[in-house]
Symmetry: C2
Subunit: 455 residues, 2 copies
């Protein structure tokens, strides 16, 4: 094992140069014009696995982007890890806020800046390099591994559930390992035991056939942008509580025990607020910030568009207005049920003066596990060796819907071991990854395989 770790330390700089090539591929799954780039990223991922010493790698087609599947099953009798990650990335707009181009990875102050650096190419590559170190120095892995790296995570993993159901024998394993989450804070590694789910919608409101002159027609017809604002304003009350009837019915209450554990975590509210640049923190009344993000559902507006948005003034009465909205869900809310409640409520609050169209985009179930299972404990030991300190156990506000599918369809527990940081701008301009965490993550991953092999 020492030789494996030495190899990782010696190759530190090479890993960064290789990661830069991976990050150079604009594999934005949300934008159809990047379809070829998405495929190129799949092929790059497959090649990287082969280079790492996994000979049996292939692209498996789906109705959308291909899955990169690889396996090394040379340790009969030992456990099998199903490693899950994704090679697709978020869009990059607003592009003008990036200090350096999103697909020209740049290192500044020990951090690598690029779209996908943290979410999730950097963390996928971390495992590929840990595998490589084992294969190069030991000629083998300490356990069996299957690699399952998809290309539609950033568009809701639309074909993934179907894929998993259709490939159960192929994906059979003992435990899922995922590195697509963040550490609790800089210097505080963590293991995540809960995730929120998601439902995402587009709302389109049409007032008239065409845009109109706001002087000649203003006051005679409903303004679709104003109607949209009125609809959205009815989604949350002043206490930050979602007003959709039935929205909270299936929310599992936070236990006093869990709340007490979280109060012990070194969370600095003022620093958090200042780092975000928010005048004040705001959320559901009666809950702390961590509770709001980790254990309470929310309604968010993700985008708004209507009428004239350029420089200056245009006196237009817009024909249409559009909003992208989403709800984060917690156990035991079900995306389908929440989607129905939302659609019914929007239809109810929308006046008959406009045409309304509600389009469901995608979703995923929330997930939670017991954090004292043997795989989580093994991961804790590996992280302690890689980072030099024991991890804390936390939930996350984000969604990795597939975790719930792995549990339901394959009966597999998941270990969520992420090395991103909360301020690394996943989904925002200037996404980055701390290279120290990246390096410690490779070491931790190498130990993780050894620890899980021994459970």
């Amino acid at each position: 094992m020492d030789q494996v770790i030495d190899f990782i330390n010696v190759n530190r700089d090479r890993y960064i140069e290789e990661l830069k090539q991976y990050l150079a591929i604009p594999s934005i799954s949300a934008l159809p014009q990047h379809a070829a780039d998405v495929r190129r990223a799949a092929e790059w991922t497959a090649d990287a696995l082969r280079t790492a010493g996994i000979p049996d790698v292939r692209l498996v087609e789906t109705p959308g982007n291909p899955v990169v599947y690889g396996e090394w099953l040379g340790a009969p009798g030992r456990p099998t890890i199903l490693f899950y990650g994704h090679y697709d990335v978020q869009p990059v707009d607003p592009l003008d806020l990036w200090i350096t181009p999103p697909f020209d990875a740049t290192v500044r102050d020990g951090e690598i800046y690029a779209r996908g650096a943290a979410d999730d190419k950097g963390q996928v590559f971390m495992h590929i390099k840990a595998v490589e170190a084992h294969m190069k120095k030991a000629g083998a892995l300490p356990l069996n591994m299957k690699f399952f790296i998809e290309g539609e995570e950033e568009v809701g993993s639309v074909h993934l559930d179907e894929f998993i159901r259709a490939h159960k024998p192929l994906l059979a394993a003992d435990v899922v390992v995922i590195s697509d989450s963040t550490m609790f804070d800089r210097g505080i590694p963590s293991i995540c035991y809960g995730l929120r789910g998601l439902v995402y919608f587009q709302i389109d409101v049409r007032g008239t056939k065409t845009d109109l002159h706001s002087g000649s027609f203003g006051g005679a017809v409903a303004n679709p942008a104003l109607v949209l604002a009125q609809i959205l304003a009815q989604m949350k009350d002043r206490g930050g509580r979602v007003k959709i009837p039935g929205f909270y019915d299936d929310v599992r209450p936070l236990s006093e025990e869990e709340r007490a554990e979280w109060r012990k975590l070194p969370f600095h509210e003022t620093r958090y607020r200042k780092e975000l640049g928010a005048p004040r923190l705001f959320g559901e009344r009666g809950y702390s910030t961590l509770e709001r993000v980790w254990a309470r559902p929310t309604f968010e507006v993700n985008g708004l568009l209507s009428g004239f948005t350029g420089e200056g003034a245009k006196t237009v009465l817009p024909a249409v207005a559009m909003a992208k909205v989403s709800m984060r869900l917690v156990p035991d809310q079900h995306p389908d049920r929440i989607a129905e409640l939302f659609e019914a409520y929007v239809k109810k609050v929308c006046p008959a003066t406009v045409e309304l169209k509600v389009t469901r985009m995608h979703g995923g179930k929330p997930w939670m596990t017991e954090f004292d299972n043997k795989y989580v404990r093994a991961a804790g030991r590996a992280i302690q060796k890689g980072f030099g300190q024991a991890p804390v156990f936390n939930r996350e506000g984000g969604s990795i819907p597939v975790v719930s599918t792995f549990q339901e369809e394959l009966g597999l527990p998941s270990v969520l071991f992420g090395v991103g940081l909360p301020d690394e701008n996943a989904h925002a301009p200037n996404e980055k990854l701390d290279l120290g965490n990246f390096h410690n993550g490779i070491i931790s991953s190498a130990y993780l395989y050894q620890e899980i092999a021994a459970v």
Copy 2:
């Protein structure tokens, strides 16, 4: 006079070809990248006046776009018309809704389609051609004329008041003539005796320093797009009434006499609704559609922008949200007073969880005149000759702020004689002008000079 009218009839097709050249210049004053085009349109306008027989034409610089000024003062003892119009046009987005390119004027079914066709190049050109007919056939105009054609009308005539105050002797006249409004309906020419005023704002709401991942942070900070929606939703109540305190204080009540006159007008509510493609008409409770548009103030959202607005889904918690909003005003509301009330109300309803910026863009006073003054009567006779029927008298929902300035600064009444139609898409895609009305407008203008000469 018969020779003048014959000349106009003979040259009908030439006028259309010349107008196409004028409409080919994308003189969009709202967009800085079109600054050179705006100037080119000013020069084209000046040349057209010279060609029409007005030798003394020049561009007068302002801090913004130049004013085209021309004069013919060869009729001492006769009245002087100050003709006002504008050579700038509205932006053209959304461009993909135009059936033919906005700056490649195309004739279909007796209508010419192009940005500026109705608002206002077509109507300015109508007067230039009426002047040309007099000059070519009579060698003179029946009265004195000053031409005052500006290039910032579509951005709120920001430098116009100052220009008028600084050039009072130059602009001295007996009456202002403006053709920048619409007829009451197809086949029903009209003279406008009231206009609404305007105040226009941009509202910017900032929640955080950068866009955030809506999973990792959703629920912990205010969502600026939702806050913006909540602010806008508080601008109007369910009865279509503006909720800004004090907003209606200075509104001059509609007289029963005026309401009775308007009820006699051939206004077809169902046809109007169907032409607009609105599921229902909607406006302030207690008022008819014409009353809402002509005599009641309104609040409109002109644009909305926040977060992700592309195809697909992006789980972003936006950093900022922006709205363009405007209020149409009626006598005796004052734009400055309404602007103060609006700003105070927005600040009051905006929560402390976000940074708020309210930017006043431009505005103009509402205007109303007595419709039985001698110039209006003269215009009525001219229109009867040009269109073969007597005009109706109406107000308009749009704003021509300079009309109020002409009254206050120069003591001049205005005659508003427009030949646009309400469905001609001023400020919207596929703007057009009916060529029959354009032609009858040239004839009416030629008669107008003769009629006013005789008052």
